[in-house]
């Protein structure tokens, strides 16, 4: 039964779910849980919180399945719901800064302990500067560079014109670059 779900497209699964086969939704969660979780974790920086929010996002997606139109990819629709949900959540919580230290990114550990340490420091520094970006820049930057979405897909997700998306990504990159330069000048980080 599960094997047959794997052959189905997202839209077919949604239609089957709307006809009463809730098991199809489990397959949709399996397909998109890493994407949803990664985006949320990038935005809230707390594993427990990200886990709770990911569950809420999937419940929201389930409740609104009948409102999904195949004019957008299901992943685009899912990311839109995810980012909007987290923005609402943060607005309600008025959460500003949380430490990134709790997130233990898995690094490819092939080098010496020193190299590993430097690599981890680089990743942490990028995480820190990305985390400092306002949502309006952070979301497009993460979706483009980390999730590999195109400019058009990001425009669909955040419901803004393509030109605005490009401007925000360009501006966001410059902000990242300036922040890294400042950090390098302030402290001797081993970025380069």
């Amino acid at each position: 039964m599960i094997t047959s779900f794997k052959d189905k497209s997202d839209y077919e699964l949604i239609q089957m779910c709307l006809k009463g086969n809730d098991d199809c939704f489990s397959e949709l969660i399996t397909r998109y849980k890493n994407l949803v979780y990664s985006i949320i974790l990038r935005m809230v920086n707390d594993k427990e919180e990200a886990n709770d929010l990911a569950q809420e996002v999937f419940i929201k997606i389930y409740k609104n399945l009948s409102k999904y139109y195949p004019e957008y990819k299901f992943s685009t629709w899912t990311i839109r719901i995810t980012t909007n949900h987290v923005i609402d959540y943060r607005r309600k919580k008025k959460q500003e800064t949380i430490s990134y230290d709790e997130i233990d990114y898995e690094m490819a550990s092939e080098g010496s302990p020193e190299t590993e340490y430097l690599e981890k420091e680089k990743t942490k520094m990028l995480n820190d500067v990305v985390n400092e970006l306002p949502d309006m820049y952070k979301i497009p930057i993460v979706l483009y560079h980390q999730q590999g979405l195109s400019y058009q897909e990001i425009a669909d997700v955040i419901e803004e014109p393509l030109s605005k998306v490009k401007n925000r990504i360009f501006r966001g990159r410059k902000m990242l670059k300036d922040a890294i330069l400042n950090m390098k000048e302030g402290e001797s980080y081993g970025l380069l």
């Binding site: 009463g20 489990s26 979780y37 419940i59 399945l65």
Partner: protein
């Protein structure tokens, strides 16, 4: 080439859309400008760091937890089916058929009555129905006269306010499209 132009090339480099010609120009500038070279190296490092960050794996039990919560909810397919009320659809269909038949009978009443009166079996029914037919004819004639009078005054009124009506209709049309789009994009909590 001045430094401001390099910004465009750096963005194209990050988008992986830089042409060979542009890459040559950029390299030439970077070899001569220390500041832009430093910017380029930081941008390059940003791309590498992003591409090396793997997709973070969600907890394994996420599906189980979500499906457990979904089990306690009203199923979505019930919600979808609720929008189609079969009883109401049946009542509307019955009245539509009845109204349609009545209109057909009304239009063809003269020929039906003639047909009935010519038949020896139904001539008695024809005699019975002819006063009803006369009443209906008189009633519709009076009604049409009243309607024509009222309509002509409505038409005169509409004519005097045609631009206002047009503006209001356009505004309503706009509001309707806005509401439809809003409802389509609205995600339930």
């Amino acid at each position: 080439m001045d430094c401001s132009k390099i910004d465009d090339y750096l963005m194209k480099y990050m988008d992986n859309t830089l042409t060979k010609e542009e890459a040559k120009k950029m390299n030439l500038h970077l070899s001569a400008c220390e500041k832009c070279k430093q910017d380029f190296m930081i941008y390059d490092e940003i791309i590498k760091e992003f591409s090396e960050t793997e997709l973070i794996e969600a907890p394994e039990d996420l599906e189980i937890k979500v499906m457990a919560q979904i089990a306690a909810l009203e199923p979505v397919h019930v919600k979808v089916n609720k929008t189609v009320d079969y009883l109401m659809a049946g009542i509307i269909a019955f009245f539509a058929v009845a109204a349609g038949s009545a209109i057909i009978l009304f239009i063809n009443r003269e020929s039906i009555l003639n047909l009935l009166s010519n038949s020896p079996t139904f001539s008695a029914y024809a005699d019975m129905l002819s006063p009803v037919s006369e009443f209906v004819s008189n009633f519709t004639q009076n009604a049409s006269m009243i309607l024509t009078t009222k309509l002509s005054s409505v038409i005169t009124l509409m004519d005097s306010y045609k631009y206002v009506i047009l503006l209001v209709s356009l505004a309503l049309f706009g509001v309707q499209i806005f509401l439809y789009k809003k409802d389509k994009d609205k995600v339930e909590e």
